[in-house]
């Protein structure tokens, strides 16, 4: 996967953007987006990950002016979104496609007519609409569903129609608002493949928000992690996976690489050493270090046995990322030497506790 650097032309940029929702009768003031700087290079696929309430929905809606910034500047393809009047803003939105978690297709329109809707809105002559919609139906592989209503389509098919609809006005940017969150894993994989294909074929910039790190792993070239309205960490997908610094980022990365301690093990973990108890160690293999036979080497050098309790290997940007949680019967003094040795071979090692 090509890793884009910051050199590409910025198609979306946030300069010190904040969005504050004023307090209402029953709720206090909410700082949904708090002084954010973000640059999306043209042609990139950028993921914004965060838990619900982190401000990512507001962030994506600031790009097409569904929300306007309280302060700061959002620029899309050279246009300052906050400075546009209603008419100019509507015009700008036609070059920013958007897809949604719940698809938001009109139940009263067929697949064809749903894709035609943005064209009708833009005032495209009726005779030209067919020539635009039919190739899009082909592109998303649903030419045979042309005259079906949304209720007759599966979730994945609905999202394909949603994608075709978003592309109808030939936008420069595609915004994806949790587009795969309502889909099963297999359908999610198909939609991700379609989005990557569109990105490659049309050089369309994609900015997506999600709460699932597995989607970031498969789709994003760059990632921004959001919490409490702020971007707490950003970088290439490889950087974020290999060197997460913030606790939240580590937890998200752990979801995919298996670094999070499984619940059954958490219940068994004891804090203190006692004779007969085994030390539990978590070893994270990142990128290039992942193919070293660490455990068998330690077994030979120190004559100890490792009992593997949990493990997982994932590939991110073509690099293996793995986690092993193993227990070892060793005196505290030997434990310290084992951990020092493991750490020296440039793996991330953590002593989690003991099991009886």
């Amino acid at each position: 996967m090509p890793i884009l650097d910051q050199q590409g032309r910025a198609i979306i940029s946030f300069d010190g953007v904040s969005k504050i929702f004023p307090s209402r009768k029953d709720s206090a003031e909410v700082k949904a987006v708090d002084n954010i700087d973000l640059v999306v290079p043209e042609g990139a696929i950028v993921g914004v990950i965060g838990k619900s309430g982190a401000g990512k929905s507001t962030l994506i809606r600031l790009i097409n002016g569904l929300e306007l910034p309280t302060s700061g500047k959002v620029t899309v393809d050279g246009l300052d979104i906050g400075s546009l009047d209603e008419r100019a803003l509507r015009q700008a939105r036609r070059s920013i496609g958007m897809i949604f978690q719940h698809f938001n297709l009109l139940s009263s329109r067929t697949a064809f007519d749903n894709i035609a809707l943005p064209l009708e809105i833009a005032g495209t002559p009726r005779k030209d609409i067919k020539g635009i919609v039919e190739p899009l139906l082909d592109m998303v592989g649903l030419a045979d569903k042309r005259d079906r209503y949304p209720a007759e389509l599966s979730g994945g098919q609905k999202q394909r129609i949603g994608i075709a609809r978003a592309l109808a006005t030939k936008p420069k940017v595609l915004l994806s608002d949790e587009a795969t969150s309502a889909l099963d894993p297999e359908t999610t994989a198909q939609i991700i493949a379609l989005l990557r294909q569109i990105n490659a074929e049309l050089n369309l910039t994609i900015l997506f928000i999600t709460h699932e790190m597995s989607v970031v792993k498969k789709l994003a070239q760059r990632v921004a992690v959001m919490e409490g309205g702020q971007i707490i960490e950003q970088g290439t997908t490889y950087e974020i996976f290999s060197k997460p610094t913030h606790a939240t980022t580590k937890r998200f990365v752990g979801e995919v690489t298996g670094g999070n301690v499984p619940e059954w093990l958490q219940r068994k973990l004891l804090a203190d050493y006692a004779p007969g108890r085994q030390a539990v160690i978590r070893i994270a293999f990142t990128g290039a270090d992942a193919d070293e036979p660490v455990l068998s080497r330690l077994t030979r050098t120190y004559g100890v046995d490792f009992n593997i309790m949990h493990g997982q290997i994932e590939y991110v940007a073509d690099h293996p990322f793995g986690t092993l949680i193993a227990s070892v019967a060793a005196e505290p003094e030997l434990q310290a030497r084992l951990i020092a040795d493991l750490t020296a071979t440039c793996n991330t090692v953590e002593h989690l506790g003991y099991v009886a």
Binding site: R90, R93, I96, M98, F100, L106, S108, L117, I121, E152
Partner: protein, 221 residues
């Protein structure tokens, strides 16, 4: 029953149908825009005008809470101004329309509010203007519910139209009161009731049928 009576029943049925149809059409012409306005003009909606919304809402509620028979009497001067007379079938259309309009406005408001807000957001994201959202999204999506709402309004109008008979409005209600009640002819009363039941049934079935045909939300509709 004498042929003369049967003839009267037929003419009265026609009168009732005329009153209901005219009041239904005028009520929809006035109630539809009013309903759209009520559904889209609160703060933060497509055409925000919260104060006007509140006032219109109050007027609508006031009209709806006035008993129909009192409304008929209260607006006699207006009826005379519009229809030239205050008795008879054409005069009855005026109070019927005025009673139907706020009712239709409220049920259409309800139908439009049922439309998924996500669709409105999607249309905004594609650059639709507020008017385009009403015409291309809200109304088509609300159509099955609007049809049911108009059916309900028509059924209510049939009931109201029987009441204007009491103030000389003509139609089946008038016939029922004058012959069935005042001259004590139970067979006329029974026939009037039977015809009204058939009318209501017919209107309801037709409305259900059209609404089902318009509703694409379930498979195999």
């Amino acid at each position: 029953m004498s042929p003369e009576l049967i003839n009267m029943i037929l003419w009265s049925t026609l009168d009732t149908l005329t009153m209901v149809a005219l009041a239904g059409i005028f009520g929809t012409l006035a109630g539809l825009p009013l309903g759209i306005f009520l559904a889209t003009s609160r703060a933060g909606e497509l055409f925000p005008a919260p104060n006007v919304n509140r006032i219109v809402g109050l007027v609508v509620n006031a009209t709806r809470s006035t008993p129909f028979i009192i409304l008929v009497v209260a607006i006699v001067p207006l009826t005379r101004l519009i229809a030239g007379t205050s008795i008879g079938t054409s005069a009855a259309v005026v109070p019927l329309t005025i009673a139907a309009t706020p009712f239709i406005a409220r049920v259409i408001e309800g139908a439009i509010r049922e439309v998924d807000q996500g669709l409105v957001e999607a249309a905004r994201a594609f650059g639709a203007s507020p008017l385009q959202i009403v015409w291309k999204v809200l109304l088509p999506e609300a159509m099955p519910a609007v049809t049911l709402a108009l059916t309900l309004a028509t059924v209510s109008l049939i009931g109201y139209s029987a009441m204007v008979g009491a103030v000389g409005g003509g139609g089946l209600g008038d016939l029922g009161i004058r012959y069935g009640y005042q001259r004590f002819m139970p067979e006329v009363m029974a026939t009037v009731v039977a015809v009204l039941i058939c009318l209501v049934q017919g209107v309801q079935s037709l409305g259900d049928f059209i609404s089902r045909r318009l509703d694409k939300r379930t498979r195999h509709s």
